[in-house]
């Protein structure tokens, strides 16, 4: 697999772990991974937003336990730290959706430096998702 496109929508701490783990696996083998953060998940591309991600819903009271288990598994426990690790592979590009950015107040001023920028969804779908060997939605 040479390229993987991932669209991330869900920003719950536990639910965002899976696309990040898949991206890390693929990037470790040299696969180019392009990730578009849409809806609430775009806030993960800001330091404040990443730090505020929590487990929600019926598992909300297990937040501390899950973070401890993630650290034991060897992953950086913080979402921002995982994004930094992904970027350090040299194979991952992180994009924020422009619509999501407008709705959830994410722009070039608060975007983490690891992110490529804010892009239109149409560009991502045509230039990245449609051309990738595999496209996943989370």
């Amino acid at each position: 697999m040479k390229s993987l496109a991932i669209v991330v929508r869900d920003d719950a701490y536990d639910k965002i772990l899976t696309p990040l783990a898949f991206a890390y696996l693929a990037a470790a083998e040299g696969t180019q991974v392009d990730m578009l953060f849409v809806n609430w998940a775009v806030r993960a591309l800001t330091e404040k937003g990443a730090a505020e991600l929590k487990i929600d819903g019926r598992h909300a009271d297990e937040d501390a336990y899950v973070r401890e288990q993630v650290a034991r598994a060897g992953l950086p426990a913080g979402i921002h730290d995982i994004l930094v690790a992904l970027k350090e592979t040299g194979c991952v590009s992180l994009y924020g959706c422009s619509l999501a950015g407008a709705i959830f107040d994410v722009n070039e001023t608060n975007l983490i430096p690891q992110a490529e920028g804010i892009v239109g969804a149409s560009w991502f779908l045509h230039e990245k998702a449609a051309k990738a060997d595999l496209c996943q939605y989370f």
Binding site: A21, F22, Y24, L25, A28, E29, R72, A73, G74, L75
Partner: protein, 79 residues
């Protein structure tokens, strides 16, 4: 068959997916072709992930040993 002699050991005990594969990739970059990497893991997912990784990347899985919860993989770097 004699036990392969590793040139480097990767301790992935306690670590879970994706870390054993991520760290295996990093460790293999430090080896020269022909050298052997020993990976010690406890994640049962590595039983399928490491052989599949070897096949995909063209490296040779020389052997697997299991002792209690520890799984040892011996991988020879081919290129």
């Amino acid at each position: 068959m004699s036990k392969p002699q590793p040139h480097f050991t990767l301790d992935a005990i306690g670590k879970c997916c994706p870390m054993p594969i991520v760290e295996t990739n990093k460790a293999m970059r430090m080896l020269a072709a022909g050298q052997v990497l020993e990976i010690i893991a406890t994640d049962v997912g590595t039983r399928s992930d490491i052989p599949s990784w070897c096949e995909r990347t063209g490296n040779t899985l020389l052997g697997i040993e299991e002792d209690g919860t520890e799984i040892r993989f011996y991988v020879r770097k081919e290129h």
